[in-house]
């Protein structure tokens, strides 16, 4: 049976709430309404308003209060309603949540999950389509993960809740209603990349919302006789260079795909590490297919602005013709 990513997240959160009485959810409109994307639908009814908390409208408050709750022994799962609304909470995330384990020499443990619907492609208004992952991946003390399938959504949200470090949990909102199977018995470790499609000519490295696009591009490339391997990073901090290296070691070519802006993006990190550690095995420079170095455009422009199949195929051509 297939379920949507929203349902998979809902089931995962329900399981986390059932497994551990210290888990609680908090965020704007997550209780009565069930969240603007309905990820928490029905949970307040079943677990009560002390465990599924409709908060005041204040993102710093959500994360700051989560820090205090965690210090009291709770495991808060915060929902920040949209990617563009995480910034009012940035101070609490960066100066407090990420730092207190370090400052306290390990005495303070903050098992806080911050769920953020992110990315574009849904025809939304401004501040509702952003990709803020590298701000957090660049902050020591945070883990940053992102799911691309309902199966991963179900397992990764539970793994994030069980993790003793703060986890930024990025949900690709344009795939919220994509359906897929969940195998309840086979979760991958949270910090492990997975090969989504095997291939021999070039490695496509993607995460979150660009994984389905990369798979589509790989399928199109196959029709032209090119064998493309697709790696889904899943975790950006820490990130699984080992799996990526093994793939690039075989193919000799790498193309990184993300929606976030080009310069200083996660692709730069991937390219730097590959040239450092796989230099002698690279047949071509690492190519990036990304959003541009502009604010996110009006939605009428987003389909060409976002990395799509054609731009990825062009990048594959560029890599293979080097």
């Amino acid at each position: 049976m297939t379920v949507s990513m929203v349902k998979a997240l809902n089931d995962g959160l329900r399981q986390a709430l059932t497994d551990d009485p210290k888990v609680l959810l908090m965020g704007e409109d997550i209780g009565r309404l069930g969240g603007v994307f309905r990820v928490t639908d029905g949970l307040r009814k079943d677990f009560g308003d002390l465990r599924v908390v409709d908060t005041p409208l204040g993102e710093a408050g959500i994360v700051g209060a989560a820090v205090g709750l965690a210090m009291r022994g709770y495991r808060p799962v915060c929902e920040l309603q949209f990617d563009g609304f995480v910034y009012p909470a940035a101070n609490q995330i960066i100066t407090q949540l990420a730092k207190l384990r370090h400052r306290s020499a390990g005495r303070i443990s903050l098992p806080v999950v911050i769920r953020i619907p992110y990315g574009g492609g849904i025809g939304s208004i401004e501040h509702h389509s952003e990709s803020p992952e590298t701000y957090f991946a660049h902050t020591a003390g945070l883990k940053v993960v992102t799911c691309s399938t309902p199966h991963d959504a179900f397992h990764m949200i539970q793994q994030a809740v069980a993790d003793d470090d703060p986890v930024i949990f990025l949900e690709p909102k344009r795939h919220y209603w994509t359906r897929g199977e969940i195998d309840p018995s086979s979760p991958q470790p949270l910090d492990r990349a997975v090969v989504r499609r095997e291939g021999t000519d070039v490695t496509l490295i993607a995460y979150g919302p660009t994984v389905p696009v990369a798979l589509e591009a790989a399928e199109a490339a196959a029709e032209e006789g090119r064998s493309v391997e697709v790696v889904d990073l899943r975790s950006l901090s820490p990130w699984d260079i080992t799996t990526v290296r093994a793939s690039v070691h075989r193919t000799g070519r790498a193309v990184v795909v993300h929606e976030a802006a080009h310069s200083h993006g996660f692709g730069a990190e991937v390219a730097a590490r590959l040239q450092d550690e796989e230099f002698h095995f690279l047949e071509a420079p690492v190519v990036r297919v990304t959003g541009y170095d502009t604010p996110y455009p009006p939605s009428r422009l987003e389909s060409d602005w976002l990395p799509g199949v054609d731009r990825i195929l062009n990048a594959i051509d560029r890599s293979l013709s080097y």
Binding site: G64, P88, G106, G141
Partner: protein
């Protein structure tokens, strides 16, 4: 009237704060803030204020000698801090700023542990759970939200309103006048009010946020803001240890009983510069500092004790010896603070060391262990 002009004096909302002990040391009971003196250990208050001041004086000296990189002095705020701290029960949780040395002292922290942050040997320095005293917070106002979250936890743990004095718990969050302008403090007040949380916000209005006088932050007394959020605010003389004790006791009792939050404004004065790196003569007149020096909180309590004979001469003699012992402990302890292990930043960034960070640690330790080579710059 231009919006930046202060209100004219005749319409000023700055009523005198509640005072139980006047500057001459005379008791003036006030119906608004009852205090049963039989429940007050005056000698202990005086002892802790005296030793707090000595701790502060010694830390300043250590900074001047190059042993500390920086020190934020609390001089002038001993009554506010010691008064508030004496209202705490063991299980109550404190969220301090970076200047609550007097509260730390009263909570029973090793005073030497306060120096590490300012010496550069640690970013924390103590176990926040051992004495229920969280780490110092340097980002202004950030701790008010942690206090709110902790109070949400207390509410969920059924740790308020049970009537059991060992179970009912409150949170005491410290903030300064500058923090009143931070958005996070506003959010903390909103959350505490809406959820009726067991948290007391203790604002030491010491008149200056580095170089910004209180008039830059507000046109009304801090305590009056509470009404706008929907909980009580009380304005007390922050140089009167009894008023600070009474107000905090009342507010903590209310919080532990399930009555919700309170904002206390303790009107006091930062006698020294913001920190040892600051020069207060650049922005405030000497006359103001002298005026406040005449309202010294420690002299006030001492005058009361001597005039009423509430303590014997032995109290003062013994205290002098304790001061000397504390000074010696701080001087020796500061220099003996262990140098941090170069591996420690790596070890505590995550619960478990990620593989990439393990590799960085290995490289760093190899670099450190090699030491400077001949001919290399040191």
């Amino acid at each position: 009237m231009a919006p930046t002009e202060p209100a004219p004096p005749e319409t000023s909302p700055f009523d005198p704060p509640i005072q139980l002990l006047d500057p001459s040391g005379k008791l003036n009971p006030d119906d608004r803030l009852p205090l049963d003196l039989a429940t007050v250990d005056l000698a202990a208050l005086h002892r802790d204020m005296t030793l707090t001041r000595r701790l502060d004086t010694e830390a300043i000296a250590l900074q001047r000698q190059g042993e500390l990189g920086l020190w934020p002095s609390l001089r002038g705020q001993e009554a506010a801090q010691v008064g508030a701290a004496h209202a705490l029960r063991r299980q109550d949780m404190v969220f301090p700023t970076y200047r609550e040395h007097g509260v730390a002292w009263c909570r029973g922290l090793d005073p030497v542990s306060l120096l590490g942050l300012f010496r550069g040997t640690t970013l924390g320095g103590w176990d926040p759970y051992a004495q229920h005293f969280s780490l110092y917070t340097l980002v202004i106002g950030a701790q008010t939200l942690h206090a709110v979250g902790y109070a949400m936890g207390l509410h969920r743990d059924d740790s308020t309103g049970t009537g059991d004095p060992d179970r009912d718990t409150a949170v005491l969050a410290f903030l300064g006048d500058g923090a009143l302008s931070e958005g996070e403090t506003n959010e903390a007040f909103v959350w505490a009010a809406a959820q009726n949380l067991p948290v007391v916000f203790f604002c030491q209005n010491n008149q200056w946020a580095i170089s910004a006088p209180y008039s830059v932050q507000s046109r009304i007394p801090a305590a009056r803001r509470a009404a706008g959020y929907g909980f009580p605010g009380i304005r007390v003389d922050g140089n009167d240890v009894l008023a600070c004790l009474a107000a905090t006791r009342q507010a903590l009792h209310r919080a532990r009983s399930g009555g919700g939050p309170t904002l206390i404004e303790a009107v006091t004065y930062r006698v020294n510069a913001h920190t040892t790196a600051d020069d207060a003569t650049r922005y405030r007149p000497a006359a103001e500092t002298e005026d406040w020096a005449a309202r010294d909180p420690l002299e006030r309590l001492e005058a009361h004790l001597r005039s009423t004979g509430a303590v014997t001469d032995d109290h003062f003699t013994d205290l002098e010896q304790r001061e000397r012992d504390l000074a010696g402990q701080l001087r020796a302890g500061c220099r003996e603070l262990a140098e941090p292990d170069p591996a420690s930043p790596f070890e505590h960034t995550y619960a478990q060391l990620p593989a990439d960070l393990r590799q960085q640690l290995r490289e760093h330790l190899e670099f450190v262990s090699t030491g400077p080579q001949d001919g290399e710059r040191q």
